[in-house]
Amino acid sequence: MSSENQTRLSDEELCAYLDGELAETERARVEARITHSQDAQARLNRLVGVDQVLARTLGPLDQEPVPAHVLEMIERSKQEAVARAGDNVVPLGGASARWRKNAAAFPFSGAMAAGLALAIGLGSGFGLSEMGRFSSGGDPALQAIGPVEDGSPLHAALEHGQSAVARVVSMEEGTSITPVMTFQTADGHICREFSYDSAEAQQRGVACREGPSWQVKFTVASSASSTPDDGYIPAGSALLAVDIFIDTLGAGEPFGREQEQQLISDSWAGLEW
């Protein structure tokens, strides 16, 4: 790094320093150079000045009242959603939804970083043996990692089911399968998150379309009465694990209903994204 002292700090470096985006050693290095350079100090002050103007002028704009018609629109939607909830929309996580909401307090970069660690802890994605511990849980009704059998309830749900609409598997046993959402991975696969619910337990999973068939890539089971040794993990951790797994796939934004309907109508063929 003999050139280090001769090179002017870049605007990017000054910005990253200003925004607290530098790792500790890098931050110390940049700070030392700013301390010893009037030019760098002047340039940094100029950038700080810009932010101060923005904070002073644009900052307070979030104190203005929300337009009433927007509030009314949200309130109407809320009433409708609550009214519909009793009919055909299945809770995405039931009791654990509250936990998920709390997780929303994490900035998503933090959640992603934490996610990576947990995903590795679980067995880094596709089909490592540790995953089986969570996926089978000793319950034959639960779906294992691997191909989804043609004609099985899960196959029908993945192939034909609209997201967020529950499909009853067995009235007597009170089991249902719900596709949760559909998304595309960074490498172009179409995948669906699904939920397999029974009175005692919930299984969440991700299945991806490979050629003509569906492959379960990840599952995790949770139970309301979870104990450390029964092969289940707490519901909150289960949902987090699914989110993390989906993050590791580099998932894009979930498909909207129309796009999803198109995929279903085309039998998941002709994907050209």
């Binding site: 644009l58 927007v70 949200i74 909401k101 929303a104 979930p254 498909f255």
Partner: protein, 181 residues
Amino acid sequence: MSANLTDWHDELVLLIPRVRRFALTLTGSAHDADDLVQATVEKALVKREQFTPGTNLRGWLFRICRNLWIDEWRGPRGKTDEWDAENADHVQTIDGERVTSGVLELAEVTAAMNTLGDDKREVLALVAVEGYSYKEVSEILDIPVGTVMSRLARARQALADQLSLRNSDESRYGDQSREVN
């Protein structure tokens, strides 16, 4: 279940003021911002079931807002150019009769922001006004972190130029405690 839905909608309501601020920064006009906020909320409500619980609702909304602006709003209507010309005049008019900062300064800064171009303006708004990390901005805008950094650096430079061009006493902006004029 109903608690879950209620929570989602309530959180949405709490986030609207910040979505509106972001929309104001993007569009540079209160009228357009209100239209954009309404369109954003409409889209968010329609897409509610596609929102992944546990992820960042604010980032999700900003993404919807920004994509609406870029893809459907700005393009076909060509608002940015119109607004620029209109506002440049406006700023010159008020410049001579500056009384205090506040409203007048806001118009001036907004005009300066509008000269940046969307790609730089949105990055600057997300980092300097909304307080997002580079990583979060890269996720909202779907661009690499390196691009966030270079656009941000160019945006701050350009805005510093703009503001000092309009004001010979540049230090006014570096010192909040001092009033000039």
